[in-house]
Each structure stands twice: as C-alpha cells, then as structure tokens.
C-alpha cells in the first residue's frame, strides 16, 4: 500500500526531498541572476558611460541572490548529513 511505502522508506524520501529542494533552489537563482544580467545589459546599451557602475551593481546583486540559493543548499546539506 502507498502508506506503508511512504512510511518504510522515510529516510530515502528525505534524501529525495533534499535533492529536489537543492535543484529547485538553483532554478530560482538562475532565473533571478538571468533577469539581473538582462537588465544590466539593457541599461549599458542605453548609457554606455555608466558601464562601470552597472557592472559593480550587477556583481553585488548576483552575489546576494547566490547567497539566498545557498541558504536552501545549506538546508539540504543539513538534511542529507543528519
């Protein structure tokens, strides 16, 4: 029965959930950083002399979003190794 399948394999389901969670977190980070890059390229195209400032802002915001993705990865690592 499905209930016993879910209950007996609970440890493997935890690993499965952790892996899926890490993948979904990477999805979110990819979408976010892609949008930053697209906005940055558009603004550099509009105003090429601001390229230096825009490059700095891009790198910083990309690192922030990467940080949020890695929060989720840390949670998944905690699940896997405990």
């Amino acid at each position: 029965m499905l209930c016993s399948l879910l209950a007996e394999m609970s440890l493997q389901w935890a690993f499965f959930g952790a892996a899926i969670g890490a993948g979904i977190a990477t999805l979110g980070a990819g979408i976010g950083i892609g949008r930053i890059a697209s906005a940055a390229n558009e603004s550099v195209a509009r105003q090429p002399e601001a390229a230096g400032d825009i490059r700095g802002t891009t790198i910083i915001t990309a690192a922030f979003i990467e940080g949020v993705c890695l929060f989720a990865v840390v949670v998944c690592m905690l699940i896997t190794f405990k």
């Binding site: 790198i59 690192a63 990467e66 940080g67 890695l70 929060f71 990865v73 840390v74």
Partner: protein
C-alpha cells in the same frame, strides 16, 4: 563502474579535524596562521607607507587594496566625518576574510591542513557577531544607550503599531548577521564541495577498465577543476567584499540621523 563516479567522501575534506583536543582543531591553526600573516604583512605595509615617499612592489599592491576598501566601502556609506574612525575596523574585517578565503585554496605546503577557515559556520558566525557588536556599538554611541533601542522604530509609525514594528526590527537585527554567516559559509563550502567531487572523478578513473573513457573523463575533470579553482578565487574576493560592504551599510543605517 559509473557508480564509482560520485562515491568518494567529499564531506570528509570539508569538516574540521582535531589536532590536540576539541579546542584546537585544523581550522584554529588556519585562523591563527591567517591572523599572523595579516598582522605581519600589514605592519610591514604600514611602516613602508609611513616612511617611504614612493612605494613599489608588494606594498604598492597592498596600498591599492587599502585605498580601494576605504574609497569604495567605508567613505561612501559612512561619510567623511565618521569614515576615518571606522576605516581600521573595516580594513581588518575585509583583509582577514579575504586571506581566510584565499588560504583555503592553496595546496599543501602553504596550507598543510587543507581546510578553509571561513568554511566553518562557527568562524563565520563569530565574524557576524563582531559585525553585530559593531552595529550596536555604533548605534549606541550615536543615539545613547537607551536611545538606540527607542530609535529602532522609524518615525511616522502610529502608536498602536509600535510593538509589532519593534518586534520586526529586533528580528531584523538578528536575521542580518545570520544571513551574513550563512552566506559566507555556504559560498566557501559549496565551492570546495564541487572541487572535491571533481577530484573524486579523477580518483575514480583508476577503476575504469576502458582507457578512452578514463582519459576523456580525466581531461574533462581537470578542465572543470581549473575553471572552478579560478571561480573560487573570484568568489572569495566577492564574498569578502559583500560581508564588509553589508556591515558598512548596517553601521551607516544604525548611525543615520532620523530627524
């Protein structure tokens, strides 16, 4: 055969190890080493900058870094009045975190213990606690010891919302160093974990019976390892910068005049 691809134990290379009891571990040794290197290097730079009119070589490089931190991190956020008081603190924080991150990438003779000091959540937690103390110190010095807590809630909040906003501000005060901690720890550990898995591919190549598959996978693994090593240097730089700039932003928020 393909099951051996990801079978090496990566976590073993990321966790800490004891050298002489639980209070003296590999990360401790690395922290002490980085602290000694930072102090020696920057004492030498300080003496050089103070005594020589024209600096060349390594001291010029360090001076570029120091001036960059001062002009891009401290002065834009803390102004010209408060700036000189806080420059020493931010110099220390930036270069300590930077050297900790970069030391973790060096191979064996320079970094015998093969660990990254900031890849330990307790280390980054300690650094974030230092940032929290800096924020509280700056705020309490500016607004007075009790006044800082009264000024946590911005002006213009109606009196019946005050407890809720106060609670939210307190949670924010705890969440910001927590985010600093996890961001630095996760960036350092994730990079080394990827590197460890790729090295595991090379290690598993020994078990391949097909020479073509073995050679192709080892060359590909080497290429990836080179790329990720360079990327880790960049990430180390960026994360040190992010930690310091966020602390500067929070200190400037705490010191900001409300009225």
């Amino acid at each position: 055969m393909t099951a051996l691809l990801a079978a090496t134990n990566v976590v073993h290379h990321l966790k800490d190890f004891e050298i002489a009891g639980p209070w003296f571990t590999g990360h401790h040794v690395l922290l002490i080493l980085v602290a000694v290197v930072t102090i020696v290097a920057f004492r030498y730079a300080a003496v050089s900058i103070a005594t020589q009119p024209k600096r060349t070589g390594v001291v010029a490089l360090m001076e570029v870094g120091l001036v960059w931190v001062r002009d891009e991190i401290v002065y834009p956020w803390l102004g010209d009045k408060d700036g000189p008081k806080w420059v020493g603190f931010f110099w220390t924080q930036f270069f300590f975190i930077l050297f900790c991150n970069l030391f973790g990438l060096f191979p064996a003779p320079l970094n015998l213990w093969q660990r990254t000091a900031t890849g330990n959540i307790n280390v980054t937690g300690g650094l974030a606690v230092v940032s929290l103390f800096a924020i509280l110190f700056a705020g309490m010095k500016k607004h007075g010891r009790g006044g800082y807590w009264l000024h946590l809630v911005p002006h213009g909040v109606p009196w019946w919302l005050w407890p809720l906003v106060f609670l939210i501000e307190i949670i924010g005060l705890i969440a910001k160093p927590f985010a600093l901690t996890v961001r630095l720890f996760a960036n350092m550990t994730a990079g080394h974990a990827i590197l460890g898995v790729l090295v595991g591919f090379l290690w598993g190549v020994v078990h391949y019976s097909n020479p073509v598959l073995g050679s192709v996978s080892s060359v590909a693994s080497l290429g990836f390892m080179l790329f990720i090593m360079l990327f880790e240097v960049l990430v180390g730089l960026i994360q040190a910068y992010i930690f310091t700039v966020l602390t500067a932003i929070f200190v400037s928020l705490a010191v900001a005049e409300e009225h």
